[in-house]
């Protein structure tokens, strides 16, 4: 393992035996003596190296194996096969020395005692981790500022909003100053403002501490804002490992041309002709009065831009990449061999 590699997996796999049977009472009775199972390959041979200080985004559709991978890396799940080393430890053993260096944040009900103010849970966590008072106090003060916990920690957790609770959960998960964070959907269910606050906090925390973070999220804004590197997992296997830019370049051969005509442009007066002209240029994705977004092939962009400009009276024009969500849809549909 290279000096700065803190996560290394080879052939990591998690397979489940799931009982199955046909519908109906007869099938139900038959299953008493004749049980059938199907093997579900949640994760199936993942090789991964993560260096200290990286922030890596795990992408994939539901059931792709992202969370299962995080759970194996954190020690919650025992792998069915493969090698795994995290911070020099075998996670499934959950050594105390290992657990003190990591944190897994998932969902909004994890560390905090539901019926007590978060401040009481922070005290309890201090004892669980055996933190020295001065260290705990300094870390808590810092997290208090970064997460803006003013007025949140002295009322019962159950009375906090989802966003407030998530901020308190993050503080609780980071009190022991973990050097490796596993964040499973940290902004799930939060409103846009809370999502942004949590996202900014993770960014600042990672920047300021140099902590390593592995993150899953269905919100592309999280991934774009936080992750220099993304790993695409689909059907339990690793489809892509690299930067978002590389991923977009490999799966997306499309560009979006956003154009706005002058309000009194003659072409706007002849809608039938405009529609014909635009359809010849590319696929119209959006239209709103004098504004249009047209999708074109990346390789043809020069010719298409020339055609658009020839329509006359263009007052604004930009060339954009496809939205990340669309890029990912393409990535999930693209065979692994074509992505790597």
């Amino acid at each position: 393992m290279a000096d700065d590699t803190i996560i290394r997996t080879r052939g990591l796999a998690k397979h489940y035996e799931v009982p199955i049977r046909e519908a109906g009472l007869l099938a139900s009775v038959r299953s008493i003596t004749k049980r059938q199972h199907r093997t579900v390959r949640a994760v199936d041979g993942v090789d991964l190296d993560v260096a200290r200080g990286e922030v890596v985004g795990f992408l994939g559709p539901n059931g792709a194996g992202k969370t299962t991978t995080l759970k194996m890396l954190s020690g919650l799940l025992h792998p069915s096969a493969g090698e795994i080393s995290v911070l020099g430890h075998e996670p499934r053993r959950r050594d105390r020395a290992f657990l003190r260096r990591i944190s897994l944040v998932m969902g909004q009900r994890q560390q905090l005692v539901w019926d007590l103010p978060a401040a009481d849970s922070f005290l309890m966590i201090r004892s669980f981790y055996g933190l020295r008072h001065a260290d705990w106090r300094a870390q808590l003060d810092e997290l208090h500022d970064l997460l803006d916990l003013e007025g949140l920690t002295d009322k019962p957790v159950r009375q906090l909003s989802l966003g407030e609770r998530m901020r308190c959960e993050l503080a609780a998960g980071l009190l022991h100053r973990p050097e490796l964070l596993f964040l499973d959907e940290p902004t799930l269910g939060l409103d846009v403002q809370s999502q942004r606050r949590v996202r900014e906090f993770i960014r600042r925390y990672a920047d300021r501490t140099g902590a390593t973070a592995l993150l899953t999220s269905h919100y592309m804004a999280d991934i774009e804002a936080l992750c220099e590197r993304v790993v695409v997992i689909h059907h339990g296997t690793l489809h892509f490992d690299g930067s978002l830019r590389d991923l977009a370049a490999r799966v997306s051969d499309r560009k979006l041309l956003a154009i706005r005509f002058a309000a009194d442009a003659p072409i706007l007066a002849d809608r039938a002709r405009l529609d014909r002209e635009l359809a010849a240029i590319g696929e119209v994705r959006e239209s709103d009065g004098a504004e249009y977004v047209i999708e074109v092939a990346r390789a043809e962009i020069h010719d298409r831009v020339t055609q658009l400009m020839a329509l006359g009276d263009v007052v604004d024009f930009t060339v954009e990449d496809e939205p990340l969500e669309r890029v990912l849809e393409r990535a999930f549909d693209t065979p692994a061999a074509e992505l790597s």
């Binding site: 990286e54 020690g75 007590l116 309890m124 981790y129 810092e142 300021r208 140099g210």
Partner: protein, 292 residues
């Protein structure tokens, strides 16, 4: 791909805190268990009405047992199985006290934690989830017992309860009670860990409840059970974690019986501890961490 360098501030070091050295692990476990106990005590105080209602349920159970067995004693010319009506009252009020001090809920809570995935964050703390449960229950039991004590004293006078108590039996009982609490917790936890493999263990929990009721001496003093049931009770762990401490506290054990009792309780605790450790290890391996 290059790692980002750490930069300044109080949060600036990626190194973990300087933790207590390993040789102080026992002390750190104790500190952590006490922290869990403190937390549970805070919850208990916050929900004191719920705590009082639990106390009322327990008192009602004791009162019903006393009423039934006093009637039996009266119908038998004043005594049954060597217990007078007043001694039945003393016995069942002591049962109530020991039950409260050794009460456990892990067989109910652990399956829920396993089924819903609430166990996941507990597994990732540097503290065993069962140790945390033990600490929490200790606090709950002490709080509930303190709340119940005035009622127990009142009932003691109302039923004119009698026990053949001595300083030695009280001291022996106090020494045995923590061991009984551990033993009872271990049996309870062993039932709870089956939820790692069985999604629904309601029937097993009911079986445990009724077995405990009969064999522990909770339903009736052991001497009132038919011979084969008494023999079975002396083999199973239930009696040693409840009936034996109660008989010790009420002065119904001689020195030989006390020594045998402590040996059985210790032996059972050791066996249960090993069984629980093995079951826990295999159970966690089977744990699916579903739901969280």
């Amino acid at each position: 791909m290059t790692a980002r360098p750490a930069t300044g501030s109080a949060l600036g070091s990626p190194e973990p805190f300087d933790y207590a050295p390993a040789h102080r692990r026992l002390r750190s476990w104790l500190v952590a268990a006490l922290a869990a106990a403190r937390s549970e005590a805070q919850v208990g105080v916050q929900y004191r009405a719920n705590l009082l209602l639990w106390g009322a349920v327990r008192l009602l159970q004791a009162v019903i047992s006393i009423a039934v067995w006093r009637s039996v004693a009266s119908a038998n010319g004043g005594a049954a199985g060597g217990f007078t009506a007043n001694e039945f009252a003393g016995y069942f009020l002591t049962v109530l006290l020991v039950l409260e001090l050794t009460h456990t809920w892990v067989r109910g809570r652990l399956p829920t934690q396993i089924r819903t995935g609430e166990l996941s964050p507990l597994l990732l703390r540097p503290m065993h989830p069962l140790l945390e449960s033990f600490g929490r229950m200790g606090a709950f039991n002490v709080l509930l017992t303190i709340g119940l004590l005035p009622s127990i004293v009142i009932l003691w006078f109302v039923f004119d309860a009698e026990v053949d108590v001595s300083a030695v039996s009280i001291i022996a009982g106090i020494v045995v009670l923590p061991l009984a609490a551990v033993g009872r917790f271990l049996v309870d936890a062993l039932v709870g860990v089956t939820a790692f493999w069985l999604t629904r263990i309601d029937a097993l929990q009911s079986l445990y409840t009724y077995a405990s009721l009969v064999f522990a001496g909770q339903f009736a003093p052991l001497v009132l059970l038919p011979g084969p049931l008494q023999t079975a009770a002396k083999v199973l762990p239930f009696y040693w974690t409840l009936g034996f401490p109660v008989e010790l506290l009420t002065g119904r054990c001689d020195l030989r019986e006390a020594v045998i009792g402590v040996a059985m309780l210790t032996g059972w605790s050791a066996v249960l501890f090993v069984a629980l450790a093995l079951a826990w290890r295999r159970g966690v391996r089977a744990y699916g961490a579903v739901g969280a």
